[in-house]
Amino acid sequence: MSETQTSFAGLRPVELDAVERELDHLWRDANLQIASTAGHAIARNSVLTLVTVTTTEAEAQQLQGLIHSLSAQHPSRAIVVAADASKADEGITGYIGTYTGQGNSYGEDIVLSAGGASVSHLPGVVLPLIVSGLPSFLWWTSEPPWGSELLEAMVDGCDRFIIDTSEMSNVAHSIRSLDDLMRRKSARCAISDISWTAQAPWRDIVAQFFDSVVVRPFIYNVERLTIEYAAGDEYMPSNSSQAYLFAGWLASRLGWHIRLAQPTPGDGSMQHTLHDASGRIVALEVNARYGIPQQGGLIQFEKEERDEGVFVRPGALMSIYIAARIDGQLGTFAVARERDLEHATTACQVPQASMPSQTIHLASVGETDPLAQQLGNLGHDSVYEEALAATALMMGASSSRRGIS
């Protein structure tokens, strides 16, 4: 069967109390049609419910393709909610559809749209539509209304809450709010961040340096950590979330102390003084970078280049540099994004050990499909949660509440 339903416009309106019944009918009709052509009946399975919250109907429409592509790995019920409190209140309207697509992908869509005061009634409509017994994911595509009843109720009704702090305009505030939400909701709902998943390849590469037992001691003796991320422009503002989550990860894994990490804004960069587990100073520098380093200076990425596909999202990691010293002997570990922006290359120098450099294709190790990977995670990710707590501290959350120093 070909793609029956790909656009929001193709969905059919439905009364809110008839969503389940009408979906049954849609599947039945689809199978009847197939039976008449002697095809193989389509299954109606799901392994999860994905609730996506956006603001406008136009955004909801744009997300359809992405959500359908996820269903190839995770056949699902997708509920897309367009919640726009600033829009006139016309009650909550609903649309449904089913689709089968490329590969073995299939699934069902429910779209709900609400404006004005009706927005606050959404949880009562959305939550009963979550398929019972299966994991449910709540993906908030923009800055969530922190502290609102809508957010609290939705989070309480789902197993995993996904946001992308690299899309938020005030990173420090979002990280702190997310950390706060995580601590309050940890019994019911796991918290996760697409920004964290997107930089997983960088954590893998850096961890790999220290797999070798000869090199491993250096990780306990870090003196300097420099993280650079892609700067933004007037269209897409800068965002340091990935860079700080990376620092938070290293700090939490290595037991660094963050209390005195208040930043000193330097020359286009942020400098922090942290202390390692033995109390020695670790200098952290977080830099927004406007180009790719090349012999003889920086290459600017031009606007035109971006349009031609050589493009990296503002906030994406550009390079990590670690310097560590044991008994006066310096070891350096670096990963830097290549000029093509798709690859990263490592360089490592340690006394008495050889470590060839390596080039990695970042998309092949998961930099570009973080959402799909999110849906594969069901439980709490304790490493992320500890990294988030450390990052929040770096970004000014009060440490006294948590007993973390």
């Binding site: 009946a41 190839a72 790995q73 056949p75 850096v206 060839p356 450099s357 294709h361 190790v365």
Partner: protein
């Protein structure tokens, strides 16, 4: 703070790639051959691209011809570009990865050459930080396995005499592992002179398939199946491996082997053991393989005369498949005009234990059949249909749980339901679950998984010697029986059919039928 260097890498904690590959050199014997070209190099590249492998990872290609490192790299690049599911190779990734590729000319049977190989490996250890960890992949004709193993050992490269230095060594051998029990044991005896069982990784690429690994997950991660997975509820089990292709390029090997040795001895026995085994105490290599061996040991040996009644072989004749004319097996280039080699085989066997006593397992495999499909079907007992007399219920199919390995990987359950209406009318319905194929990109190939497992030192997905041994016992008994039977016992069949007509008798005699696939 002084932390012992040997403490685990703190950055790996909780990571998606928690198991990490140690720096090592993979020495490929037969590096200019077909298997290396089509499977190994592409699999290594895919691993490097998607895992990625440690930067120190090094490949040393070994073969007879005079090749330079550069020629070997060039050929490897062609392999990737022609056969990798991620082709063409990314120039940037290839640039650094291929710097770890080297070629070493060597005659398999010349001990001196192994001295120079040992020196080369030492030198590479120093240059690339591979810490004397070696994997030897024997992509060579099996007749060379003992020679190579012995020469490695004599050259100080074997497992037993590692001259006290740090580092491990492992050896991977391809199928076929022997052509009967005697030759398999003899081969193993030779390998054991240089390598212990823990170091030997026998490839069965079926075990690298995602859907095969799923059999264990389905059985042991779901509470509903295990209680009914036994003789009280199961009527019979059917395992089908059907191919549409003919013998293809490897005629010499196939003429000697035939369908039974080529497919049943290894791959189908693996499917059988995974379906029939008891739950292992954990997923350790030996715990899993202990349970698999118990199944093989419990297979009732064929008594005199049972081979004739419970097994069957066939050979495809000329005909049409998919609207195209195809040659009969005996007309294929390189095949003897009176070849007795079977291209189809079907058999019935029993597993004599508490779980399975009395439940027949029907296996069938052939080339040039109707369609390409690999499936395991669990047929449940019929319920008493008294309640539904006169409704046609007795004509209905029993419940079937089918595990499709390929294509359209998935699970389906066939059950009966009432047709809506006043009448009591029943109908069989199929409840399907298809695994999604991951979007756009193809899933990892079996060789990728297996190479990675060996690098990690996990042999769960490799065949242990006693598995090979018990499986050959069964196959040998069948071969012996066949040898005594007249030539007419090799049934001819039309390409594009489900095999010789006599195959139906084998199962229909028991009041059952083959699944319509």
């Amino acid at each position: 703070m002084q932390i012992p260097a040997i403490a685990p890498n703190p950055l790996r904690f909780g990571m998606r790639t928690a198991r990490n590959v140690q720096p090592c050199i993979m020495v490929i014997f037969g590096a200019t051959g077909d298997l290396t070209h089509r499977k190994l190099i592409p699999a290594l590249y895919n691993l490097a691209l998607e895992q990625p492998l440690p930067p120190q990872f090094t490949v040393v290609g070994v073969a007879r011809r005079a090749f330079s490192d550069e020629q070997f790299r060039q050929q490897a690049l062609e392999s990737v570009n022609n056969f990798s599911r991620r082709s063409p190779a990314s120039p940037a990734v290839w640039e650094t990865f291929s710097k770890g590729f080297f070629y070493h000319q060597l005659q398999f049977d010349n001990p001196d050459d192994y001295q120079s190989l040992a020196e080369r490996l030492k030198q590479l250890d120093a240059e690339r930080g591979t810490q004397s960890n070696y994997i030897y992949y024997l992509a060579t004709p099996p007749s060379f396995y003992p020679t190579i193993a012995n020469n490695l050992s004599a050259g100080g490269l074997g497992g037993h005499n590692n001259s006290g230095e740090q580092g491990w060594s492992r050896i991977i051998v391809e199928k076929p592992f022997g052509h009967n029990l005697e030759s398999a044991l003899a081969l193993n005896h030779e390998l054991n002179k240089a390598f212990s069982e823990q170091q030997i990784y026998r490839i069965d690429h079926y075990l690298g398939k995602e859907t095969v690994q799923n059999i264990m997950v389905l059985r042991f991660a779901n509470g509903i199946f295990e209680p009914i997975w036994n003789r009280r509820y199961i009527d019979n089990v059917q395992i089908t491996v059907a191919e549409t292709l003919g013998v293809g390029g490897r005629v010499d090997y196939y003429e000697e082997a035939g369908a039974l040795r080529d497919m049943v001895q290894n791959h189908m026995m693996q499917l059988l053991t995974l379906v029939a085994m008891e739950p292992p105490v954990n997923f350790d290599a030996d715990a899993v393989r202990d349970e698999k061996v118990k199944v093989l040991r419990a297979i009732t040996p064929y008594a005199e005369g049972e081979v004739a009644s419970d097994t069957l072989r066939g050979q495809y004749g000329p005909g049409m498949i998919g609207g195209e004319k195809v040659l009969g097996y005996r007309e294929e280039p390189g095949v003897k005009a009176n070849s007795p080699t079977e291209t189809y085989t079907a058999l019935k066997l029993f597993i004599e234990n508490w779980r399975w006593a009395g439940v027949p397992f029907y296996l069938r495999h052939g080339k040039r059949l109707t369609k390409r499909i690999t499936e395991i079907a669990i047929q449940f007992n019929r319920p008493p249909y008294l309640l539904f007399q006169g409704t046609g219920a007795d004509q209905m199919q029993p419940n079937v749980l089918s595990l499709r390995i390929q294509p359209n990987e998935g699970i389906s359950l066939l059950f009966d339901a009432k047709v809506p209406g006043q009448e009591m009318q029943l109908r069989s319905v199929n409840m399907d679950f298809l695994y999604g194929s991951s979007f756009g990109v193809e899933p990892p190939e079996a060789y990728e998984r297996l190479l990675l497992e060996c690098m990690l030192g996990d042999s769960t997905l490799f065949t242990r010697i006693d598995e090979t041994e018990y499986s050959w016992r069964l196959i040998d008994a069948i071969e012996r029986g066949w040898a005594k039977m007249p030539a007419s016992a090799l049934h001819q069949y039309e390409p594009g059919t489900w095999g010789p007509k006599e195959a139906a008798t084998l199962i229909e005699r028991d009041g059952r039928t083959w699944r319509h696939l």
